[in-house]
Symmetry: C2
Subunit: 430 residues, 2 copies
């Protein structure tokens, strides 16, 4: 971290800059809020974002506020607990909702099934809006309040918009969501209940995305689009701090991450890199990206040794939350996978649905297909002999099964009905 | 508590008996596991249960294990934290899932809307299977394991069976669910993912209920039917301990409870009575039962001064989780409402859906209609001048909105779509 410059002295007590992950240039967050102005000049539509910025901390200064002693005396919960590690000048900007502080559960019965002795599930389906994306939104909305923005906007069809709408509602911040008119009505209903202003457009997601960018520029709205806004990655890193603390202040050997755009994998990796920078762990866990076979741009790029993923035209899978043609955060995600000695694995829809039912049956965790993909990936790699019996592996469960009941129905078999008498019951039990 | 006899000496270290709430007779839990054999002789089908048993503790002995000092040093979370107050011989019988420990959130924006200064929401939608019923199931399954039962059974169409299936999956206990074949496919899918054995019967809920009772008797299955099994009430009282602790070890003035069978209200009231018995609070909060107008047997009975509710034929409401014709725990629930100086209030489906959207917009809590009923009840009583500005009121949010997307869709208005350009956006914003 020799490159560090604290450009914020005098303005903000939090020592950080925004650093371009491509060219390494550092920016004042007050001047450059989104992507690197130099690298993003080459940006082509429909490809991974160029010039993604990450929050670059001065660990020596962070370590003054955050160490093992701080945690001993800290009764705070959720995102608030790690306030000294957030790029935020005041705790008051954080939502009153409990976001994060999700259970890390020992998967004993699943472990037995797999012949593994140190397996855990981080259950982020327990966040308020039901998914990991709440972690990005809590920091983005806090930054919006800190900067005095009155409206936060995103283009989205799914969990990201729902998470944003939820956090905004808890703090009275206006939320505008631009969606293709074909977006799933169930998720639209959830956003609308949270009071988001929803603008369905007669067009596709790319058109909604372009309109959201223009609206943010011209109306002064704060742009939450994933990876484009650096705090989406930074908010998502808090799960790494929690895993570390829940494991008794150690890093696991590997984290198994459902992967679409690559923002969660980048967030988790960044969290562990920060712990490494603070001297709180001495090795990085392997980042394992699990993708659906029908949407495996990152896995393909990893296996081909590419620096940037090639878009997968017509990407599709039952795991809709991780279906993307061009992973927006693909360049950074690939780097994190490689630098952590991790790898990528793709799984079929059949394997995903089968893992969904296996996980439910052995753990009591009911997840959406993207989360089940992580389980399917571990099963596959374990069978291939790439995971040791005593590997400390953490499965990241990113969304609740209640968000996709249709997939759950495909994962199980509905039994035949019987007459309502004991004899009929005995017959089917026999 | 002069009536107390410890019938369990020698067998079990936990000092309790099961006491009939009607005749007051005490029973050895090993001898009489469900309802009072004397009072239940008069039981008629389709009416409130007679002879419901409640767990009767020796507070002097409980106080040895549980006091304010215990909590200071206790790092345990969820149901496990209150183990010294549970009728259980060993903590190992509790599910590894985090059940309970749900957030108590200050409802500042909702409070401002209502002109109230001390309003809270207890968000039990954050339980693993998404509802308050997880609290009953965790204790019932623990008792099943303690007693060596291999299968737990319930008749149900909804959240109760889902909660039971979830907890059973986490501990490898067989779960049998007997349901009418017309049960909602979404909830069936969730149970099946948890690995429950689901037996759909060609008949209605009453027939499923009768068959589940016979199956339990003849096959040695443990019966979890609500209120019939005394630990359903006792498990549900843990939320009262959490509210007390989260408020800084004080009781609120009132708790607003979505009410169907009356088991939650009895559980919460019992929890506060136990705190009173332990000398940890000095007054009971008022129990306010909120029912849907189309299913208001308890509210009607309260207002008519009846001891037992009259069944409401053809009960119906958008709040399906609290629709019952004959509240099974009606006698005890009515007593708890009256003894706590509480009351009942009924709200229309229109008021429920409007409260659902209001709550979402002002708090970021997305709930199912039954939970929104609690909010609607508070709005109504506040308008009627029956709730003071500084009343410390706790709204019990019992289930996630993701369980009933159709209701959410009815609660909001879908906006018109626009062309995907800035001019069109400006026009709708104007």
């Amino acid at each position: 971290m020799t490159f560090f410059h604290n450009l914020m002295t005098g303005l903000n007590s939090i020592p950080y800059q925004l650093k371009c992950v491509d060219c390494g240039h550092g920016y004042d967050p007050g001047e450059v809020p989104y992507v690197c102005p130099v690298c993003s000049e080459e940006q082509e539509p429909g490809r991974a974002l160029l010039g993604v910025l990450e929050v670059d901390y001065d660990y020596e200064r962070l370590a003054i506020e955050f160490d093992r002693d701080y945690l001993v005396g800290c009764a705070l919960r959720g995102t608030r607990r790690y306030f000294p590690l957030l790029p935020l000048s005041d705790e008051k900007f954080l939502s009153p909702l409990l976001i994060g502080d999700t259970p890390l559960m020992a998967g004993e019965r699943l472990g037995t099934h797999l012949g593994m002795t140190d397996l855990f599930m981080k259950d982020d389906s327990r966040n308020p809006a039901g998914s990991y994306k709440d972690r990005a939104s809590v920091l983005v909305v806090a930054k919006a309040l800190e900067m005095g923005a009155e409206t936060v906007c995103t283009a989205s069809t799914g969990n990201a918009a729902t998470a944003l709408a939820c956090v905004c509602a808890s703090q009275g911040v206006d939320c505008s969501v631009i969606v293709p008119e074909s977006a799933p009505p169930a998720k639209l209903a959830q956003m609308l209940v949270y009071g988001a202003k929803v603008f369905p457009v007669r067009g596709n997601y790319d058109q909604a995305f372009d309109l959201s960018s223009e609206a943010c520029q011209r109306l002064g709205w704060y742009n939450r689009n994933t990876a484009f806004n650096p705090y989406t990655i930074d908010g998502k890193r808090v799960a790494a701090f929690e895993i570390w603390e829940q494991l008794g202040q150690r890093a696991p050997d590997s984290v198994w991450i459902p992967t679409g755009d690559g923002v969660i994998i980048a967030g988790v990796a960044k969290g562990f890199r920060d712990l490494l920078g603070l001297g709180l762990i001495d090795k990085m866990p392997r980042m394992i990206a699990v993708q659906a076979a029908g949407s495996a741009a990152l896995v393909n790029a990893f296996e081909s040794g590419l620096k940037e993923p090639e878009p997968v035209e017509g990407a599709s899978s039952v795991a809709d939350s991780i279906v993307v043609e061009a992973p927006r955060n693909g360049i950074l995600a690939l780097r994190e996978i490689r630098e952590s000695q991790g790898w990528g694995v793709s799984v079929s829809d059949e394997e995903i649905l089968s893992a969904l039912a296996l996980l439910g049956r052995l753990t009591g965790c009911f997840v959406e297909p993207s989360s089940a993909a992580a389980v399917a990936g571990l099963l596959k790699e374990r069978e291939a002999g790439r995971v040791a019996d005593d590997e400390c592996a953490v499965l990241l469960l990113t969304g609740t099964g209640l968000k996709d009941i249709a997939a759950a129905q495909r994962a199980v078999m509905m039994p035949q009905s019987i007459e309502p008498n004991f004899q009929a019951l005995e017959e089917v039990l026999a």
